[in-house]
Amino acid sequence: MTEGFLKEQQTLESDLNSDTSHKRSVDTLMDWFRRRSIFVLAYGTGCGAIEMPPTFTSRYDAERLGIRGAATPRQADVIIVSGYCSYKTLRRIIRSYEQMSNPKYILALGSCTVNGGMYWDSYNTIKKLEDYLPVDMYVNGCMPRPESILEGFIALQKDIANGKASSWEKYEKNYEFYRKNQEAVLGKQVSPAYETDWYLYEGGL
């Protein structure tokens, strides 16, 4: 029995089942397996990470959906950007993202990834994650509760099944665009550096 905001959510998600005729049959088969086995990189990037342990453990049990944690980017499919991204964290997220194997997905939690959220006027965070990394699924909230994160995962699984979750292809095709944006805030060296970054390179403020 759905009512209230749950009914709204249903109507919002109802058009996720769009047509899948553009896919080949082997892709359909592969996507059927890919949606059932999702490895999430164990990397809590921001304060949204506090909601990840309850999601993956006994209370809200994401493992019944086939979702489990992965230790290294090499083993992971999904990286959860859980909240704000300071420039320092953004370097590590980009390095981890580029070390993951295709197909890979980004799940962005919280309002900070949409428009800066609570830190909209901070000098050290990015305001719109979509400019720097391609996002597959946003889960709004500040921060979203485990039930929301689970719904986000289910929506991501539906996207994978339909073949719509192809942000990694978007990253490869538009790499110059993303790289330009990354260098604008991080300087020429996008990978992690061990000095205080933001006032040594161009950009920052």
Partner: protein
Amino acid sequence: MRIINALLALISLIILVSFWQDNFSLYVDLALLDLHGVVIGIQTSALANLFALLIGFSWLMVSLASFASKQSSHPALFRWLPILSFALFLMVYTVDYLLFFIGWEIMSIVTYFILAPTLTPQALIKYVLFAMASALALLMGIVILYSGAETLLYMDANQGFMLLSLEMKIVVTLLMLFAFFIKLGAIGLHYWVVDSYQQADTLFSAYLSAILSKMGLYGVIIFLTQAVDIYSFDATLLTYSIALIGVISSIIATFKAIREDDLKRLLAYSSIAQLGYIVTVLALANGMGGALYHAIIHTLIKLLLFINIASIIALTKRSKVSELGGLIYRTPHSFVMLLIAIIALAGMPPLGGFASKYLIYTSLLDAKMLLILSAVMFASVSGFLYIYKLIYGIYLGHPTHKSLESLQEVSKWYLLPQYIIALLLIIIGTFPALIIPMINSVLRQLYLTSIPYETITTLESPLGAYNGSVIMGAFGAIFVVVLFFLWRVKSKTKEAKDRFDIAYCGEEPTTTTPLHYGYGMTKELQRVSFIATIWHSSSGTFYNALTEILYAFSNRIRKLYTGNLAINFNWIILFAVLLLWWGTQ
């Protein structure tokens, strides 16, 4: 000089192989020198042929590797190596203890000449003291044996041994075993081994480890089987003592090897451990076959290992694990050779190392020495740690120094003996019973039961058999199938961008980040009390304490001789009178 050395090695090996089946004997009665009844002689036999084959092969391989570079070995090595090898040939072909002792002494002295230019004085003194101690003990043992039946021949030595009193039997056994165990490097008497192997020319360390240590083995075999005739009576105490010495050598040397940073010291301890396996089964009636098999395999493996290390040291001028690393794609042939060597050293089935371990284990099981068998298997498994440290420290991981990033493959002269030995190891692994007929002829000569032998692919033992070619064939087939599957699966292979493209918790390591795990690889094991005890103990403590006691004692005696000439003269006369009185008793 190197060319002459190599040619002599080749000629000796060719002569040996072509005259393999022929019997040759020459006996000389020393009555000509007024020594009545003393007969010395040289005779070919299966045991002598086997050891001579090992000697000739080691000599040839070391000589081949010596052509790689002129500077990496001291010229003394090639001047003395032919003389050393001929002394060893004399030692194995003789059938009397006099010529054996002459060969033993020439071996010790010539080894000194080769070691002297490259060893530090402390290490050299250690070698000289232990070599002299072994020679003296050997001489004393031979003299006591002679006093039994007035003969020096091996075949009559048992008569002499039986005529001795029980105390003399024990004394002569202890003396002879002491002498041979020093050469073998049994724990407690190994004080000279590690430093000598580390500081000698690496090619000579190969020769030392591959064949000079086997001369102690040869001496023990001759003494135990012919003088003591150990298989004819119930020698449980002696068998167990020798087995215990062997197994303790293996365990302690394995754990000491795990700690080592220097490559040659690691291999020196590994030699002590492997020889410990041989010593463990030596005194068992069923064990001699396994001991001989392991002797052959160990010679091959140590030659391969030391020549490989020699090539790396000559290439990089570094000999420590903490200063090497990441050489795999610069010297891929060397890497594959070392990989084959360590698979054989660990005793894993596809290659030849497993066959010898299998024979050792089944003979211990058959003799019901179960706890000793557990200890030997424990030492063998613990060896995987230093084996992995060896290959990871040199070839895998990251280069620890900029100079290691721009190297070429090692010289072909180093690779040629390695190819030959690796091929032999693969062949012996696939056909483990190939050398059984050779071992069986030795066992027949020693009046022991032969190892059952039907086909060259199956190695038989009292508790079961295994087929080496099936293992190798199955491994090869499965490998090819899985490789094909991995190649055809959908996922493509993408090469990592550079050596820093590793999953490093989101960080990016730089050139100054220490990434090579070689040096500290097993340091955490010192928190285990058993291993910490082994690491912190040293036989040097005992020898230094012994030295202190001797100094104190001789200090006391020195005070007898005061500066007064008359008192000195009195002491000397008293001493001479005492000696004369004792002589007349």
